[in-house]
């Protein structure tokens, strides 16, 4: 299943924004503050793909249309973009200054939250394969509920990244929040249904 042609196409297309901006940056076309712009671009696309993964189940419920087979591909794109976002921060922005990085990560809530979101993505990425689903069974679903934790942490990190609340950051945070809440209601309804012994919902 993961080797389907479309998943490669989606992955390649999904990485284009990063490649494009890297090219711009290397050719001095990202403006006066290229590292910062690139860093933010990568973070933005991580959030965008995260929104896509969170929309898949709601979309199926509302329209019956299922993109479930592609959710893993988009989820992994979230991870790749988050990796690149962190890599640019560590390498291009802070220039591997480990002392400064450690001090910042341990003192700045803004960065702690970002690091938290990234940390949660690692086990999700590592278990994004058929072998893990088979081996972990029911626990795989529980583990992947961490996605909602990632969404909340990413939303807060995004909101904290600017001097004031911006329409962009508020918009994305609201979208993430709404999707988490939607799923939260869904889970609650399922629990109530199963308590009543009524398992009509999958």
């Amino acid at each position: 299943m993961p080797w389907r042609f479309e998943t490669w196409v989606i992955t390649l297309l999904g990485l284009m924004p990063a490649a494009l901006y890297f090219w711009y940056g290397a050719h001095d076309q990202l403006g006066a503050d290229p590292v910062n712009v690139f860093e933010r671009w990568l973070g933005l696309w991580a959030v965008r793909f995260l929104l896509v993964t969170l929309c898949i189940t709601p979309l199926r419920e509302v329209s019956g249309y299922s993109l479930l087979r592609y959710r893993r591909t988009f989820g992994l794109l979230v991870f790749w973009y988050a990796c690149m976002h962190v890599a640019v921060y560590v390498a291009l922005d802070q220039q591997f200054d480990m002392a400064v990085l450690w001090r910042d990560i341990t003192h700045r809530p803004f960065l702690m939250i970002g690091a938290g979101a990234f940390t949660l993505l690692v086990p999700l990425a590592l278990t994004s394969n058929t072998w893990s689903i088979r081996t972990l069974g029911r626990r795989w679903r529980g583990l992947h509920r961490l996605t909602y934790g990632v969404a909340i942490l990413a939303a807060v990190h995004f909101l904290m990244a600017f001097k004031t609340y911006t329409p962009t950051s508020v918009g994305y945070a609201a979208a993430l929040g709404l999707l988490v809440l939607w799923r939260g209601r869904q889970v609650t309804r399922m629990r109530t249904a199963s308590d009543r012994g009524d398992m009509t919902q999958p």
Binding site: G25, A26, D28, L30, G31, A32, D33, P34, V35, N36, F38, L92, D93, Q94, Q95, D97, V100, R103, D104, H107, R108, P109, F110, L111, M160, F162, K163, T164, T166, P167
Partner: protein, 317 residues
Amino acid sequence: MARWSYPHPRPSEITPHAAWMNRRHFMAAASLAAVAAPFSHTGPAMAAALRTQPGPFQATDRPTSLEDITHYNNFYEFGMGKADPSAYGAGFQPHPWTLSVEGLVAHPRIWDIDQLMATMTLEERLYRMRCVEAWSMVIPWDGFALATLLKQAEPLGSARYVAFESVVRPQQMPGQRAVLDTLPWPYVEGLRLDEAMHPLTFLAVGLYGQTLPNQNGAPVRLVVPWKYGFKGIKSITRIRLVEQMPPTTWNRMDPTEYGFFANVNPDVDHPRWSQATERVIGASGFFGGGRKKTLMFNGYGEQVAGLYGQMNLRAQF
């Protein structure tokens, strides 16, 4: 042969003595206007050449390019993006403009900006500018010391602070038309009187030898190089001498993050990011010129540390 009688001017037509004494200033201004005429109209300020002389306190750093200085701006009146002020600033009309000096002064005055620029001797000063967002530039400003203007107004003994106010023109400034205001308007700032009277404190009317572009705060803005850039209020309409510490916009937005003094200080971090280093715009590059270590008082400690003697700079940030 008829006696030729010369025309008797009416008293109202006679040039006042003071103006006649200042005729050289008017001639200089007129010739400047003639040179600038192809470039200026009442409307968006096309850059006009300024006559300046080199001033004191020149930085030894390399100046940031005009392109970067005029296309990477925080001027939320035009939008929140760094490119918004240059993209959306064209509709702003900095002429005609008046600057009012008022409050606890012996000689309050409403200056016409052209009159002000003709009266003052303009200096060129290369200053470092450090933004609170941890980036920096080096900018060749043209203008005059704020102290010159304040001394003419003669602050009264009761004056302790100087309050500054910017402009509200939603029809010319798209950022002021937003449904959700990013900042409360007008933008306001303030300095302690001794900070305002310090020779470093500068009112800029130009940069790189040309009048200020709209996105840089046309037609007149404040430059306080040892403080974070948000203290440099742009497009000033009023300067008022007051007794109480005046409100400042960013301090109102979040007093835990933006203080009144806002002195550049690598040892006092912003709650969300470190202030120990800065990205030098135009120099850091993509593959790393890297960050520069931020200097105490942005490197102007020798000139201004004395203003803060015993003050706890962490508490009074």
